[in-house]
């Protein structure tokens, strides 16, 4: 479960950034008083145009960034006060996260499992399960640097899930992938949901959002523009396409 309450995040601007900023302020507000919640057993989509504050929000949820104000609760843990405890419960994947090119997939997975203190017997089981699910057995010993984009993304997802997190936070997980690989990942998200775990993901692909989401939130300029269930959203669409409805909300 994720509970976000009145979360704001402001960044100090550099001198050069201040010149570009219209009001010449010292700070810029990336996320403004954001509140939403994601429940176990549901897939929650966070939508927004570029620069809306999605990545900053996800980074705050993953505890890489600390909110300027507000609270974040991850499975009952105050993620602002106890970030390390919260991290144990999170599997975080963003489009910008990379892998160690000089290590093999096996080495990367083993390394991250060791950082989460996953016991050896559990690691073996998890690896067998995820490698099968993601069709990774063929390239498990291959160096990351020599892998295709799809292979790398599979390793990233395996890395994200190796410690069996209660909460999955995925930022554009199918971005740049072929349809077969993307389909595999979509299936994996569904499986995860069926295990009564929380999945929060952001995407630009509206078809994916339509297919996977139980609930969704739309943010623009750091503020929440819409939050509700997918069925409510479909009702509000009034015959518009999902993309059209999204654009309407953002521009309203």
């Amino acid at each position: 479960m994720i509970i976000v309450k009145n979360v704001s995040k402001e960044f100090r601007l550099s001198k050069e950034q201040r010149k570009e900023h219209p009001a010449n302020d010292k700070y810029t507000l990336a996320v403004n008083n954001l509140s939403f919640s994601c429940n176990p057993g549901e897939v929650f989509s966070l939508l927004g145009p570029n620069g809306a504050g999605k990545t900053t929000t996800l980074r705050m949820l993953s505890t890489i960034l600390q909110p300027s104000s507000g609270t974040i609760e991850i499975c009952g843990v105050d993620a602002v006060k106890y970030p390390r405890e919260a991290r144990r419960k999170i599997g975080f994947l963003t489009g910008s996260t990379g892998l160690y090119a000089r290590l093999s997939a096996n080495e990367v997975i083993d390394y991250f499992a060791s950082l989460y203190n996953v016991p050896n017997n559990v690691l073996k089981e998890r690896k067998a399960y995820l490698y099968d699910l993601l069709n990774m057995n063929e390239f498990a010993s291959k160096k990351i640097g020599k892998m295709s984009t799809g292979m790398k993304q599979k390793v990233s997802i395996c890395r994200t899930m190796i410690h069996d997190p209660e909460v999955l936070i995925l930022d554009e997980p199918t971005s740049g992938l072929d349809v077969i690989t993307a389909e595999g990942i979509i299936q994996l998200i569904r499986d995860y949901k069926s295990q009564n775990k929380t999945v929060l993901f952001s995407s630009h692909i509206m078809g994916e959002v339509d297919l996977l989401s139980d609930r969704l939130a739309i943010i623009h300029n750091g503020s929440l523009k819409h939050e509700g269930t997918m069925s409510e959203f479909r009702t509000e669409m009034q015959g518009q396409s999902l993309t059209g409805a999204f654009i309407n909300i953002v521009q309203s």
Binding site: R59, T63, L65, G98, A101, L103, Y111
Partner: protein, 397 residues
């Protein structure tokens, strides 16, 4: 947890060919190659310079007494050939200028008469000093001729040579060979280690922080429940180890060059150097290098954490090499010695302490002070790294 991070970072670092080249290959090979080149080039140069037949243009005739005397000097002092210019001084100096001849020799026209009359005859050698070895050859010739002429005059005047020598001065060098080497070359050793230690630290420091940021792997690492200071220390240990490894490889290269490859022709010098490169001195040297390398890592990591790309970090850290090498160079100057002030100057204190260690005249209070100062600056550098690594603006692009 620190060890897990250290092990993984080390594995990744040793798989990077560029880092491995800087960390092991170059330091290991630099001394054998450098000593080999210097010894061979200098010996072949002095051999060829010694064997070269000098073309000497003379203002008079080749039958002149001075030329005959010069000709009588054994060929072991260097072969020579005389070309007579028969009084044409303009052509003589022009030819020397145009390098048609190697040297021009001008002397008084009544040269022999002046000498016979116990007067002072003028001799002028025109030499291009950029030709190394020519001046030494002339000085050798003239010393022989002057000594012969002086003896003739003593005989002619009936003077006992001893009576014209009021002093017999002996300069006794009380410094041992080890002390001499410590003073003359002792500064070079730590200077080289500082340079290699810095280079060894540089690539891993950039790769493990700026490189990770650029590749987006740092974000992944920071979402794990590992404390940030543990991540920092795990990575820093790899940077320090790389610096020490580069210094160590440089030392091994030096040792192999001297002990096994016989690259130093002078056996006395080899013996003294072997005496210096003992296990206790090497241990002390590395004990001093350890805080220095931590200090290097400590100044490079905040820069690497702050910068957004490998290239940006490299462009800032590379010139820093000069800043680090400057105090090290200061230690090479004669007259700058280890005292309570210099022991407090980081880097300089390492050079001076090593010089004293090699010379065998180390003051252990100053050694301890240097060590404490380096530990202190290393601790400050680590703290600065920790602060920078903790800033979220520095870790997320």
């Amino acid at each position: 947890m620190i060890f897990k991070i250290f092990r993984k970072e080390l594995k990744e670092t040793v798989r990077d060919r560029k880092t491995l080249l800087i960390m092991v290959a170059i330091p290991l090979l630099i001394f054998p190659i450098l000593i080999n080149v210097i010894v061979n080039v200098s010996s072949s140069f002095s051999e060829s310079a010694g064997e070269k037949v000098l073309k000497i243009g003379v203002i008079g005739d080749t039958n002149d007494m001075l030329i005959q005397q010069l000709n009588s000097i054994p060929a072991s002092f260097g072969p020579k050939e005389f070309i007579a210019y028969n009084g044409d001084s303009l052509k003589l100096f022009k030819d020397q200028k145009e390098e048609k001849i190697d040297l021009a020799l001008w002397y008084d026209s009544g040269f022999q008469d002046i000498l016979d009359g116990l007067g002072t005859a003028n001799i002028l050698w025109a030499v291009d000093e950029t030709n190394i070895g020519y001046s030494e050859r002339i000085t050798g010739y003239m010393n022989i001729l002057e000594a012969e002429e002086r003896l003739k005059r003593y005989d002619a005047l009936g003077i006992d040579e001893q009576k014209l020598q009021p002093y017999k001065i002996t300069y006794q060098n009380t410094a041992s060979d080890q002390q001499m080497l410590g003073e003359l070359a002792g500064g070079i050793l730590p200077y080289i280690f500082i340079a290699f230690g810095f280079l060894g630290c540089m690539y891993p420091a950039i790769d493990l922080f700026s490189g990770e940021k650029e590749r987006g792997t740092i974000e992944t690492l920071l979402t794990t429940p590992v404390k940030r200071w543990k991540i920092l220390i795990g990575k820093m240990l790899v940077v320090v180890l790389s610096g020490l490894m580069a210094s160590c490889c440089a030392l091994i290269g030096l040792f192999v060059s001297i002990e096994f490859l016989d690259l130093i022709p002078d056996p006395n010098l080899t013996a003294v150097v072997s005496k210096i490169l003992t296990i206790p001195i090497i241990i002390k040297l590395f004990a001093l290098l350890l805080p220095l390398t931590v200090f290097f890592a400590g100044i490079m990591i905040p820069i690497s954490v702050y910068t957004k790309s490998f290239k940006e970090a490299q462009s800032i850290i590379t010139p820093l090499n000069i800043v680090v090498v400057l105090p090290a160079m200061l230690g090479l100057f004669p007259g700058i010695e280890l005292n309570y002030i210099t022991a407090c100057v980081p880097i300089l204190n390492i050079v001076l302490t090593t010089k004293s260690l090699i010379a065998g005249n180390i003051d252990y209070i100053l050694l301890s002070l240097s060590f404490i100062v380096m530990i202190a600056v290393a601790a400050v550098a680590v703290f600065v790294s920790f602060r920078q690594f903790g800033k979220e603006s520095n870790i997320v692009n």
